[in-house]
């Protein structure tokens, strides 16, 4: 009986280990995706403020000209 359970038990144990491994990988993928999204958003907001400053400067230069 114990002999029969051992390989099964080992297999199940191994399976659990595999799943944990996969879980680690998928959660890190999700973290990367989240990071990419937030990076995108922050970059766009900064570029937008830059854009506004640029247009303000351009208008001022036009008026000086």
């Amino acid at each position: 009986m114990v002999g029969q359970e051992d390989p099964v038990q080992r297999e199940i144990h191994q399976d659990w280990a595999n799943w944990e491994y996969i879980e680690v990988i998928t959660s890190s993928i999700k973290k990367i995706a989240d990071f990419l999204n937030s990076f995108d958003m922050s970059c766009r907001s900064r570029l937008a403020t830059l854009n506004e400053k640029l247009t303000a400067l351009e208008q001022r230069i036009e008026s000086t000209e």
Binding site: I22, T26, I29, I32, A33, L36, F39, D40, C43, E58
Partner: protein
Amino acid sequence: MPLVTRNIEPRHLCRQTLPSVRSELECMTNITLANVIRQLGSLSKYAEDIFGELFTQANTFASRVSSLAERVDRLQVKVTQLDPKEEEVSLQGINTRKAFRSSTVQDQKLFDRNSLPIPVLETYNTCDTPPPLNNLTPYRDDGKEALKFYTDPSYFFDLWKEKMLQDTKDIMKEKRKHRKEKKDNPNRGNVNPRKIKTRKEEWEKMKMGQEFVESKEKLGPSGYPPALVYQNGSVGSVENVDASNYPPPPQSDSTSPPSPSFSEDSLPPPPAEFSYPADSNQRGSGLAGPKRSSVVSPSHPPPAPPLGSPPGPKPGFAPPPAPPPPPPMMSTPPPPPLGGFGSPGTPPPPSPPSFPPHPDFAAPPPPPPPPAADYSPLPPPLLSQPAGGAPPPPPPPPPPGPPPPPFSGADGQPAAPSPLSDTTKPKSSLPPVSDARSDLLSAIRQGFQLRRVEEQREQEKRDVVGNDVATILSRRIAVEYSDSEDDSSEFDEDEWSD
């Protein structure tokens, strides 16, 4: 509904049917790991996309910054050069030089197909294309694209554009009217008391409740006020013009252009009444709300022109055939609606001229304030204008357009109760009658074709002029501001008061 911009592809790692293997758990693990690798691949594509967009944006900014730096350098050089030469400044130069106008570029077409981010565009491309209905276009009589009846992406823009153009034209007409009145009435001391009175009436009407105002508007006005209804869509404008026009039928000095027409007091309401139900019945199906109101507008030129020279201002229509069919046709509809008004004295005269506009719905003159005097110069542009503006609504109307004239020719003559010349026609022998009918038909067809050509020319002209939101809006605002500067600030206030 939020649209997902980017998707990481194999969404479910292990929802699959398993192949029959011995070690199922291992199989699952391997499948899941393979999907993880695919997900990593799509993640990298996702990241490349994001960084690409940010990179292009940053590049444009960099170029702008460099150009700005150049300009600053040039200015700096100029300023350092200018210091010694101080004699160029003169008071006259300061005053006469043109004021500084910055060139503000308005952002247009922000949400165009081109500005769609690439991943969303790819998602869009996976959708089915609309059916190729445009293959049916050569079989259509009215020259419109068949696909537009199924799905028309430019529908709302065309609607809005027509509305704006119409508004500008009306405002210009208002201006002309005001100038005319100013010239005509050097002594305008009477104007103020009259306006005060109308305000009171307005408030009284409001007391009863807004529903009564609407009913009054349907009964009372014709020509100009209902036009304002569909133009602005605000009850306030209706009330204002309603109030301003309802009391002054005897008063020629009103803001409404058909003041000469209002001299015949009983006349305008009946044609308006009959044209309202007739038109709403005809064009009931498949019309949007604002479009319906704008569709109702074609009924208004029928009231307005009859008061001028009736068959005269109808270009593109052979005048001899025009009067005979309208009276027989009009004899049946006018009596029922006119019964309520009890002013049947003048239905026959308005009916013949009111009918000619009816069949040529392909180019109905929508702006209601065509005063009789101004009518003859105005018809060609008026006729052509709505044709461009109402391509979607008239799917039912253009087919009814050609059928009514032949039917009128067929039905009107047997049922001729009116004592006009066409009563002699049924008495005459058949060949002359059919000849007259065929002549009428051919003339009508020619008329239609003539109008279509005019419409096309007008449309082309307008397309060339400027199709953007910005130009149209700027034109309208300019006209409105100039108009308010002249006069009638009160009028504009009421327009905006809602």
